[in-house]
């Protein structure tokens, strides 16, 4: 009667659950490395708020050195994820990956004052972005990228404040223009009631903040209303308008 339940089967399940726990632990430690490098880059890029604008390229160059470490960490992670099981473990790295996307997006903005392209993002991490739901192994999901873009809007509104403090009055104007463009992009998305939606709802406060800065500057005639400051109309700035 007692052979109705094959206890060997439970042993097999126990073994496979232990395997899974090991995989998760390995992924967690790889993600921890990724997170550490993320924080290094964040520390470097944080200095942009207290630097003059001609120091920015040097900061970006310094950040870019760390991105090769990020590539290595992601490469380690890639090897740990079994084929077709990306979403089984996705929750373990999604947060740090969003942060890494944000950092790449911010670096790119500081260098060229435009939104990073998917191709450039892939270049930063040496991983593809999943554009057609055809993941087999590790990829970056569009959601993760968009989370990074939302973080960018938040960071740029802060940068707008600090640019004024350090005497750069034209930057808030450019940031304001860029954020509005991003916002109209986000408005195209039909977001469900998920975390991306909640964070998207916050973008308008970032825009409001930048608009208030521009108002303050305009009222005091520190910038000329509706006119791009002449010296700032660089070729990279024109890209955004294209």
């Amino acid at each position: 009667m007692s052979n109705a339940v094959d206890l060997g089967f439970f042993d097999a399940i126990q073994a496979s659950m232990e395997n899974e726990a090991t995989t998760k632990d390995n992924i967690r430690s790889a993600v921890r490395e990724l997170d550490r490098t993320n924080r290094n880059i964040t520390a470097v890029l944080n200095r942009v708020h207290s630097s003059s604008k001609d120091q920015v390229p040097a900061l970006c160059a310094q950040a870019r050195i760390y991105f090769s470490d990020i590539q290595n960490h992601i490469n380690d992670l890639t090897k740990l994820v079994p084929t077709h099981q990306y979403y089984k473990y996705n929750g373990l790295w999604s947060g740090p990956m969003q942060q890494a996307c944000f950092l790449a997006t911010l670096t790119m903005y500081l260098e060229h004052e435009r939104l990073i392209t998917v191709e450039e993002l892939e270049g930063f991490f040496a991983v593809k972005v999943d554009l057609d739901n055809n993941i087999t192994d590790f990829q970056i999901s569009v959601e993760e990228f968009l989370h990074g873009v939302v973080s960018l809007t938040n960071e740029l509104s802060r940068l707008a404040v600090n640019a004024v403090t350090s005497g750069d009055f034209s930057r808030p104007v450019r940031i304001g223009k860029f954020l509005k463009e991003l916002y109209s992009g986000f408005q195209l998305l039909n977001l469900k009631n998920d975390s991306l939606r909640k964070r998207f709802d916050g973008i308008k406060y970032d825009i409001k903040k930048v608009e208030e800065i521009i108002y303050d500057l305009t009222v005091r005639k520190l910038i000329v209303a509706n006119t791009e400051p002449v010296q700032e109309a660089t070729s990279t700035g024109a890209d955004v308008n294209a």
């Binding site: 206890l7 089967f9 439970f10 399940i13 998917v118 057609d132 739901n133 569009v142 109209s184 195209l188």
Partner: protein
């Protein structure tokens, strides 16, 4: 269009090469590649255009999840009905010579066929990485199905159904027409209205198909229909779903045991043919089966967070309830007339047993 890709995961390219799909393979790949290439070549021109593509990508994902949730709900409903049918059947119905004429078991089989078709339909959306992407949306339905199947297996074979036997049923041969139009497999969303239609003749096109899933493939369906290649789709049963399904099974076994115990007190049913075990023996068998399952679960090292450990409480309750019921029959058997005792048993089950069983299934419905 994503489905087309899903039928050709790189892992199985080798085996597919031998299949009749070979002729069609390059076409699919090419069409698929061109879609991603098309997106790629258009990206980076303007923010608004890029976000338009992102919207499409996200929308595809949300639509797919909606479809999966809808089918899962149907699977859940039909699985519950399968379980009800099993409880309605008499013990002798499970003997091979009677199973074909038992009304309850015929109903079970009809529902089973329907559920398999529903799984077939949902399998299209759950290939390759998508299985784990949407796993939380189907796992509730999967557990309910496992509960029904393991209960039937126990009633027929007196054993625990192995996971491999469950998975063996979840392999589907799909034609490209079915890939393009899942309504050909089974139309969904009818489990409440005209379920009879779905149950017996779902192969025939349902007149008012409530949900038509539009895919880009539809346009290219005629091309592929000519060769009509088939693809094997399979669904994996995860260890966790299997264990949770078994945990739910224990609640059903408890119900079964109490009912059987009640039967043992009915004098009219005592003189049955001796090809089946007496009710007392059947209760003892269920009890032993449950104890075996419990010792299997007890051997697993689970974290407190695991949903399985939450269900362990239900398992323990079910077991104790049967043990207590057996005790009561033994102790008070001589004091009350059998009919009164039986009433006591049944009402006891309604109070405690019902709650235990419901909390198990309520957990499933909470998913997504």
């Amino acid at each position: 269009m994503e489905d087309v890709h899903m039928e050709t995961p790189p892992a199985s390219l080798a085996e597919l090469a031998e299949s009749p799909l070979t002729a069609q393979q390059p076409i699919t790949e090419q069409r698929h590649a061109s879609k991603e290439d098309m997106i790629r070549s258009n990206l980076g021109k303007s923010i608004v255009q890029d976000f338009g593509y992102f919207r499409d990508i996200l929308e595809e994902h949300h639509d797919r999840r909606e479809r999966i949730i809808k089918v899962s709900r149907d699977i859940n409903n039909f699985s519950k009905k399968m379980i009800f049918a099993l409880h309605r059947a008499e013990p002798r119905d499970y003997l091979p010579q009677f199973s074909a004429v038992s009304e309850a078991l015929i109903e079970f089989k009809e529902k089973h066929t329907t559920v398999l078709k529903l799984f077939h339909r949902v399998a299209i959306d759950l290939q390759a990485s998508n299985y784990y992407r949407y796993q939380r949306s189907v796992s509730g339905a999967m557990q309910e199905y496992i509960e029904a199947m393991t209960l039937e297996y126990y009633l027929v074979h007196g054993k625990l159904m192995p996971k491999s036997a469950l998975e063996a049923e979840l392999v589907f041969t799909t034609t490209s027409e079915q890939m393009a139009n899942p309504d050909l497999i089974i139309a969904i969303g009818q489990s409440f209205g005209s379920e009879a239609n779905v149950a017996d003749g779902s192969t025939s096109a349902t007149p008012a198909s409530p949900i038509i899933i539009e895919t880009d493939q539809t346009s290219s369906a005629p091309v592929t229909a000519a060769s009509s290649p088939t693809v094997q789709l399979s669904l994996e049963v995860t260890d966790e779903d299997y264990l949770l399904g078994i945990a739910d099974l224990t609640g059903e076994l408890m119900r079964l045991a109490i009912n059987t115990l009640g039967q043992s007190l009915m004098p009219t049913l005592q003189e049955e043919d001796n090809s089946i075990l007496s009710p007392e023996h059947r209760v003892q068998h269920i009890l032993q089966f449950l104890r075996d399952i419990k010792s299997g679960f007890d051997g697993l090292s689970l974290t407190k967070m695991s949903p399985i450990s939450k269900k362990m409480g239900v398992l323990r309750q079910s077991l104790q309830k049967i043990e207590l019921a057996c005790y009561n029959v033994k102790v008070r058997g001589a004091e009350y007339p059998p009919e009164v005792l039986r009433q006591m048993l049944m009402s006891g089950q309604d109070l405690g047993g019902g709650a235990g069983g419901d909390s198990g299934s309520a957990g499933n419905e909470d998913e997504e």
